[in-house]
């Protein structure tokens, strides 16, 4: 990884494994996260992303393997490491009985920060996440997007070196997701190291410099979004949709038309470096789909190639 040269690793995992009884949630994974990078775990639900995040967050003991966070061992220095982390959990755990301001105040106190430091910092953070006008409102009635933003503000209260975000935009509407991405992008530009899990390929593409694809507790690929697409997919994709029940009967007529053909239950994907030429070839073979879409390859295609399954079921 030449672009990471000279920057220290904030996280190092070797043979990292997490078992719950006989169930293996994370199976022998290796990865490094360098300072200043935005690193992602992409994979479907149940792939082991959250278990990995909880081990990094020093709230879940490592079953086997080596893990260093900020150069330290979570089993020995959990509290010291957590003092320098920011965590946005998958499930909101704001105190619903407190106001927006009080949530941040109480949380800052857990880090032993004095009130005189916290008060101005809270107002800055509330401005940053665009919740300044809700400062003294109860937390309970806030919308899902606002609660996520408040949770992000809360995670920044100790000015962390490393920010862990577990499925930061799951369950949010598209507009709220874009607001959140914008804020995370700004943090990244300020030099905060981001580690996030997601099962949204667009989120991974937007935010991550580098990511690992996880499936069934293992890491199946690693690289930048662009590298992964180049390595595991073609530049472009043609999607063909056929009337229900007729797809099987035409699929054989598409043989050899593209670099790779993927027959899904509801459509046929043709992987190609030149979508226009492929569409022309489809027409020449007198195949008439109901609908044709030409698009760029995405991480979704990478995932399909690597696992034979879609990311979001």
């Amino acid at each position: 990884m030449p672009e990471r040269a000279g920057r220290p690793n904030l996280i190092e995992a070797r043979g990292l494994t997490k078992r719950f009884g006989s169930f293996t949630a994370v199976d022998n994974v290796d990865f490094d996260v360098a300072a200043g990078e935005a690193f992602g775990f992409l994979g479907p639900n149940g792939a082991g992303k959250s278990s990995t995040m909880r081990m990094i967050g020093c709230v879940s003991p490592v079953t086997e393997g080596k893990l260093l966070v900020l150069g330290r061992d979570p089993a020995v220095h959990g509290a010291e490491i957590r003092a320098r982390l920011g965590v946005v959990p998958q499930e909101d755990n704001l105190d619903n009985e407190l106001t927006v301001f009080e949530n941040l105040l109480v949380y800052g106190r857990y880090f032993d920060l004095p009130r005189s430091v916290l008060k101005p910092r809270i107002d800055e953070l509330l401005d940053f996440v665009q919740l300044g006008d809700r400062r003294d409102d109860r937390t309970e009635p806030l919308s899902g997007g606002m609660k996520r933003r408040l949770t992000i503000a809360r995670s920044l209260i100790n000015e962390p070196e490393l920010l862990l975000l577990d499925e930061p935009t799951t369950g949010l509407d598209p507009q709220a997701r874009h607001v959140l991405w914008d804020r995370l992008y700004r943090l990244k530009q300020q030099g905060v190291t981001l580690v996030l899990t997601t099962h949204y390929m667009d989120e991974a593409e937007q935010l991550c410099d580098r990511l690992v694809v996880m499936d069934k507790a293992r890491i199946v690929a690693e690289g930048s979004p662009r590298e992964l697409i180049e390595r595991y997919s073609t530049r472009e994709v043609v999607e063909l949709r056929f009337p229900a029940g007729t797809q099987e009967s035409v699929a054989y007529r598409l043989d050899g038309i593209a670099t790779r053909t993927e027959v899904l239950p509801d459509r046929v994907l043709l992987y190609t470096d030149d979508a226009d030429a492929t569409v022309a070839a489809v027409h020449r073979r007198a195949v008439v789909p109901e609908n044709i879409v030409e698009r760029r390859s995405t991480l979704e295609d990478v995932f399909l190639r690597l696992t034979g399954r879609s990311l979001v079921d």
Binding site: R82, A83, E97, D112
Partner: protein, 260 residues
């Protein structure tokens, strides 16, 4: 576990309590007042006419007999209130404990903070109760001042194991079981309203094992000025054992639930 971190947890509970403290203080004053008025003065006026009451009630009127017992029982009620729903809510419905554990706080800090907070609530409620007892003239000895820490210890002895239980269950039906089969029977049969010598022998033995009986006997002997050193030490040791073992169990239960 660090003292400063324990206090951070207490701070957060205090901030939540601030929202409802007026209600809390009012009930901790009004409840004893109503109880002492109806049971102590009202029911007491009938009890005191009985010819045998003087010997069974340590030679005092019913109000004076009842008040320190109710002090201990009130501590139990406050303890049960703080150790049931708020604890289950904080692991389940509004999982603030999880958020706390993402900070430098440890499970030990969390349990210590939660238990300390319950102790503070108990000190507050039992102090108010003692004041009300004084207003009713139901105190016989200056030793009664020691009944405040005694009742607080009683509450903690009961709260700690309940915290452990609340942190380990999935549904709140388990909490009503605690109230129905633990708190209410103890309230009725641990010597608060009548001496347990009035119970059948088998039930007397059960009563001896309840933390509340030890709390009632200790508070009563202090309030009446009849406390003797050895039995008092015995009560304190017994209640402290419940408290220490209960807190240890709570730490186990919290860790099991929150550290996956």
């Amino acid at each position: 576990m660090e003292a400063s971190r324990t206090m951070r947890v207490v701070e957060s509970r205090l901030l939540t309590y601030k929202r409802t403290w007026r209600f809390g203080v009012t009930t901790s004053f009004v409840n004893p007042f109503l109880f002492l008025l109806s049971m102590g003065v009202g029911l007491g006026s009938i009890v005191d006419k009985s010819t045998t009451s003087a010997s069974t009630l340590h030679g005092v009127d019913y109000l004076t007999f009842l008040a320190p017992g109710l002090l201990a029982a009130t501590a139990m009620q406050v303890a049960a209130g703080e150790a049931t729903y708020p604890v289950l809510a904080s692991v389940k419905w509004n999982p603030v404990y999880r958020g706390m554990l993402a900070t430098p706080l440890s499970v030990g800090d969390l349990v210590a903070g939660q238990v300390t907070w319950i102790g503070i609530r108990l000190l507050q409620a039992t102090t108010v109760f003692l004041v009300v007892m004084g207003l009713f003239g139901a105190i016989e000895s200056p030793l009664a001042l020691a009944a405040v820490p005694a009742a607080t210890l009683t509450g903690l002895a009961i709260a700690a194991p309940i915290c452990a239980y609340s942190a380990s269950i999935e549904r709140d039906t388990g909490l009503s079981t605690v109230l129905r089969f633990g708190i209410i029977p103890m309230f009725l049969f641990s010597g608060t309203f009548f001496p347990i010598s009035q119970l059948p022998t088998a039930l007397q033995w059960i009563a001896y094992f309840t933390p509340l009986w030890h709390g009632v006997d200790l508070c009563r002997s202090l309030s009446l000025g009849t406390a003797e050193l050895l039995p008092s030490i015995g009560h304190v040791v017994y209640l402290s054992t419940w408290f220490v073992v209960g807190t240890w169990l709570a730490a186990k239960a919290f860790a099991k639930r929150l550290i996956l």
